[in-house]
């Protein structure tokens, strides 16, 4: 995918000059990023770079001190997770936000339960819907009636993703989607992400794993100490150049060969 074609398209998400501070410490300072339909944007940076805080302002879990958010070119205000969901923004959290003792359908429909016409929980409809979505995403998944506590990391991740897909997420935020998974499960989740991308969903993926990012992302935004170092097209850069952005905060055109060599020193 080339970026030139995207300049004509309205971005799905545009975050302008976002700032968040905690008691005088700038966690995020004047950061602007954008996301296009069917695109995976990798958001990378060291610990404390402000990646999670930045996306939390989009998912409604953190209030921004300043900055503007545009969805489909229209300015929006997001004050709560509910606001974000109403805009089609779904988040899959690093520490999976699942109710451990409830089964997959209950978790998928948490707070948005399907009801019978008598106003009671419609568990069978919820299970049917869960089976349908999951059948498309991860056909091997069959454990619809056990507490999610007893599922593997990949299966739990599938539940979280199925939830987002069922509720027609257009913008998906994934915080370390493969951090807690084994190799086979990581592949499974990568496969899922490619499928979502093909469906036109825009994904912001936070990751520590540079290989993951190079494998999946179209563009990469790098943060360092709360600021945006820059956003690059994956096809235009090498892994070393991205590492240089992450570690010393220099863009590929600014960094010297010597500095690149020192990264491996």
């Amino acid at each position: 995918m080339t970026m030139t074609s995207q300049s004509d398209v309205t971005p799905l998400v545009e975050m302008r000059d976002m700032s968040v501070s905690f008691g005088g410490v700038h966690a995020v300072k004047d950061v602007s990023i954008d996301l296009y339909p069917g695109e995976i944007l990798g958001l990378v940076g060291g610990n404390g770079a402000g990646k999670s805080t930045l996306v939390k302002t989009l998912s409604g879990a953190q209030k921004a001190d300043s900055g503007e958010i545009y969805i489909d070119g229209e300015q929006v205000s997001i004050h709560s997770p509910r606001d974000a969901k109403n805009l089609g923004i779904e988040t899959i959290y690093q520490t999976l936000a699942l109710a451990e003792n409830q089964d997959a359908p209950s978790n998928m429909f948490l707070g948005r339960e399907l009801m019978t016409r008598w106003g009671t929980l419609d568990d069978s409809s919820m299970e049917d819907a869960a089976r349908k979505v999951m059948g498309r995403l991860n056909p091997k998944f069959q454990n619809f009636k056990v507490p999610v506590e007893s599922l593997s990391g990949g299966q739990r991740q599938s539940v979280a993703i199925a939830k987002a897909v069922y509720f027609n997420a257009r913008i998906l935020i994934m915080d370390e989607p493969t951090a807690a998974l084994g190799p086979a499960e990581t592949d499974q989740v990568r496969q899922l992400m490619r499928q979502l991308k093909a469906d036109g969903i825009g994904i912001i993926m936070i990751s520590h794993d540079i290989h993951d990012v190079f494998d999946l992302a179209d563009r990469i935004s790098v943060m360092l100490q709360g600021r945006l170092v820059g956003t690059v097209d994956k096809d235009d850069v090498t892994m070393d150049e991205v590492l240089a952005m992450i570690i010393i905060g220099k863009l590929p055109e600014e960094v010297t060969t010597k500095e690149l060599e020192q990264l491996h020193g």
Binding site: S59, A61, S80, P81, R82, K85, T91, Y93, A97, L98, A99, E100, N101, Q102, S106, N107, L110, G111, R112, E113, M115, G119, T120, L121, Q142, N143, K145, V146, S150, L151, S152, Q155
Partner: protein, 331 residues
């Protein structure tokens, strides 16, 4: 319960004893066996117990306790607790007694109202002002005791006996003096609560809030609304229990239901509801309340005083909390 047929799941490495497996997979069955064993033990101590009036007596004791324990169960599911159930019940009964000269209807409605108001205030404290449930409800208990002590000399002076209708539903029986009316009330409450917890959106949210409040918040739910609803319902149930209790004793005083606090927690814990939230059921609590009812009768036959009874309840709570932690492998 279906865990064992699914191959995808990591199996427990610890070797399971039969009892351990049984308690984890069929807790109600185990509780039922314990209940029957206690009834038999009591009958051995006092053969006259195994009669209609003996068993009726146990249900008569267990019903108000079971309703108060319903309040406790609902809150424990959310990861909360209510240390003010005893005092809310007492306050509600006191108002019902005071208003009895105006008719049983008014007395009951005003008594229940006391519970809803006190419970809602607990809910606002916990849900909106983020006060720890232990602190909030302990304070509520102290405030109610002080308030009603003062009121008993002023506005609430007068009647301390309850209307005949309250005496009947609290202490009377039907079908030839076999089935207590309060058991009927308890049965109705039980159906509503079991159904509500299993089949309504609020019921599911009560479990989810205790399970993972962060997940619930991120799902876009306002947790404080769930908490206020839970504490208000708990207040209502405590008040109902207090009024039934007043009907059984016939008169009210400010000590009426104070000794029910620990048993109400004990009944829920015996029934398998986790004090950490998210796990449990009211069916378990019902058996817990019946077990405590039999135990109380047994201790009475053994001529054990109130002090011994409290020690036994305390010991049960401690022992079971330890046992369930061992069985479920969680702290």
């Amino acid at each position: 319960m279906t865990i064992s047929n699914t191959p995808m799941i990591e199996m427990e490495v610890l070797p399971d004893s039969k009892w351990r497996t049984a308690l984890r997979d069929r807790p109600l069955l185990v509780l039922g066996i314990v209940l029957i064993a206690l009834v038999i033990a009591t009958a051995i101590i006092e053969p006259r117990y195994l009669s209609v009036s003996g068993l009726r007596n146990t249900v008569l004791i267990a019903a108000p306790l079971g309703i108060m324990a319903a309040a406790q169960t609902i809150l424990m599911l959310t990861g909360g607790i209510d240390l003010s159930v005893g005092m809310i019940a007492t306050a509600a009964a006191y108002v019902a007694g005071n208003q009895s000269p105006n008719g049983a209807g008014i007395a009951i409605v005003l008594g229940l109202l006391v519970g809803v108001v006190a419970g809602s205030i607990n809910g606002v404290g916990v849900g909106i002002f983020r006060v720890n449930p232990l602190i909030m409800t302990l304070a509520m208990s102290a405030i109610l005791l002080g308030l009603f002590t003062a009121l008993s000399f002023t506005v609430l002076q007068g009647s301390t006996t309850v209307a005949q209708f309250i005496k009947t539903i609290g202490g009377g029986s039907f079908l030839g003096n076999r089935v207590p009316y309060n058991a009927l009330v308890w049965a109705a409450v039980s159906v509503l609560i079991i159904y509500g917890l299993r089949r309504t959106g609020l019921g599911r949210l009560l479990y989810a809030v205790g399970d993972n409040p962060i997940a619930v918040r991120l799902a876009g739910i306002r947790i404080w609304q769930v908490q206020i609803a839970a504490y208000a319902i708990a207040g209502l149930l405590a008040a109902l229990a207090g009024i039934l209790l007043a009907g059984r004793t016939g008169a009210v005083d400010l000590q009426l239901a104070v000794n029910f606090l620990l048993p109400s927690v004990a009944a829920a814990v015996i029934g398998g509801t986790s004090i950490f939230g998210g796990i449990g059921s009211y069916s378990g609590t019902i058996l817990g309340a019946l077990i405590l009812g039999v135990l109380t009768t047994m201790l009475t036959f053994l001529d054990a005083g109130q002090a011994i009874q409290q020690i036994v309840y305390g010991g049960i709570v401690l022992g079971l909390a330890w046992l369930y932690a061992r069985v479920t492998g969680t702290s």
